[in-house]
Symmetry: C3
Subunit: 256 residues, 3 copies
Amino acid sequence: MKFTNRRVQISESADIHPSAKIGDGTIIYDNVKIGANTIVANDCIIGEPTNDYYRNDEYKQPNTVIGSDGLIRSHNIIYAGAEIGNNISTGHHAIVRENSKIGNHCSIGTYTELQGDCEIGNYCRFQSNVSVGQLSRIGDYVFIYPFTVLTNDLTPPSEIYCGSQIGSYTQIASSCVILGNAKIGQHCLIAANSTVGGLFEDDSFIHGSPAVYKGKLSKMPFFNQEGKRHYPWPQNFDRGMPWNKSELKTPKGPSQ
Amino acid sequence: MKFTNRRVQISESADIHPSAKIGDGTIIYDNVKIGANTIVANDCIIGEPTNDYYRNDEYKQPNTVIGSDGLIRSHNIIYAGAEIGNNISTGHHAIVRENSKIGNHCSIGTYTELQGDCEIGNYCRFQSNVSVGQLSRIGDYVFIYPFTVLTNDLTPPSEIYCGSQIGSYTQIASSCVILGNAKIGQHCLIAANSTVGGLFEDDSFIHGSPAVYKGKLSKMPFFNQEGKRHYPWPQNFDRGMPWNKSELKTPKGPSQ
Amino acid sequence: MKFTNRRVQISESADIHPSAKIGDGTIIYDNVKIGANTIVANDCIIGEPTNDYYRNDEYKQPNTVIGSDGLIRSHNIIYAGAEIGNNISTGHHAIVRENSKIGNHCSIGTYTELQGDCEIGNYCRFQSNVSVGQLSRIGDYVFIYPFTVLTNDLTPPSEIYCGSQIGSYTQIASSCVILGNAKIGQHCLIAANSTVGGLFEDDSFIHGSPAVYKGKLSKMPFFNQEGKRHYPWPQNFDRGMPWNKSELKTPKGPSQ
């Protein structure tokens, strides 16, 4: 009953693959391209124009791209100029601002906002209520948990934005603040409620407010139910990932 | 002017009590039951299907139940399989995921998300911006304040979820992280911005990151305006509660 | 393609300036006044009635005012009784509850909620995901960053609300909890992830959980790219502000 083409508004310049489905009440602006088999649920806005649209008669709408096989749930707002890869999955009320570049197989949770001008790799998962500031650079397989914010202004307010860099496989637990000067290596774990700035090497366990290095994550006493070390996590988790944990021959882990 | 039956879509298999009101733009899917006098405001989705609906032709829609005398404000999304008692009250943009079981007289604030597979007692209040992870177990009269998250994965990412347990009458202040292994007794207070794991007995005042036991809450120097101890709080607060604070003969408090 | 007057519902008692634009799907209730050149985007609710509307036949709708030259983005909900000045700018899904008084040139970010009965000056900026509790009093040029909450109940739950007071030019970084008894002076900076109660003088740098005074902000080693002290910030930042930083003759700073 959802795809009844009621109240759908699609610009004539939009390029929607015939196999894509668009939910009721969704608005698709100019210069939007949506790939094969992607579903956009109800009451979304795709290609939301930036400020200039409302006040500047010479506004030009940039291209907005969503790849194939995605599922965009209801009430999402994807701004003009966003580029999203294949197999995207979103929660409700998610927002992707202009000039965000998002790889393939990512998920963006309910109420999560990517504030634009950020680059995100493949297979990243943003859970609900994550806020990613402008200029953030995020690798592959990075998971970020609720109420965590990546900020970008060390002396607020300033006009000197700097975005944090998060290495592949790194996990950022709930309610962390990542400061704009943070440069986090690969395969790190940032404990919940930490406030993190500065440089951290690969395989760091990071904790506190301000956060400090607590040791090599792969040596920390985090064990799975079989008594095996949990980190590096790819050996213990593969749901939705492009590997089979029991068949990993070369372990995906930090360089030794 | 709200209930004009514009753009309302109601499945033929939905069982809506004749005294219930459904706001404009609201969608009600299959197998939803809504009780007497309940109001669902505009642009809500009741019985939102899970992932399988979009991709699996054999999807079967589970039952979704909302009791009587409720007020569901605009832009709420209640998933298929949720069971909500009587006298529910919600803010805007709230989300209740599949298989959540919620008792009577609860309130769910604006932007709050119950992520599913959780059990919640009666007279609980989730303020705005609360995130309740899967498998959480919450007693009666539990109040949770903004930006607090109940998590469920101790070694992210893993496939071993564990949900926290929160005893009746316990208050969790703003911006806390409750870890999946937390088991909090009754009549506790968790101070703002705490990070809480492990076991805490009834009547604990819990504080810090990581949180520690600071003493019996009922002995802590929290006083009301008349110089009387505030905790256990039922003796000082009864708005919306099923007792009259001035008539409490047997004080509702922790067992001595 | 946005202002097609589809599905717009406007009460006959609303006073909408002819130059204002109202987006598709927006509902405007009784006794709403909207000023010249203001744009209300799609799917907003302006003049959302309070609880009584639903249950009390004698409900009277208070006046709701939005000034001129504003931009209210999609899915905002402005309650009846709110008074908003000129040049307001909002993100998506923002909520302003009843009896909020907001000055001119303010911005309210995506998912941000002003919970009502609060007073906010001019040129304030609430970024995304800010929660402002009832009874908060906020001066001019105050910026508040994501996941920060201003609370109002020192002994939850109680019936004794007290709202915090935030002096002009003060900056509250991400993920802070401001307690209801906080009275913060002008030109202060509260560091990210702090928990703040009590009194702080003008020009304080405030940090920690619980937060403490770390020294005069204007003496702290925060420098801009030219090696000049960043605080007081008006000398280094003027985007959208009613001054030109290079022409400031009398520096806007804390009283010496």
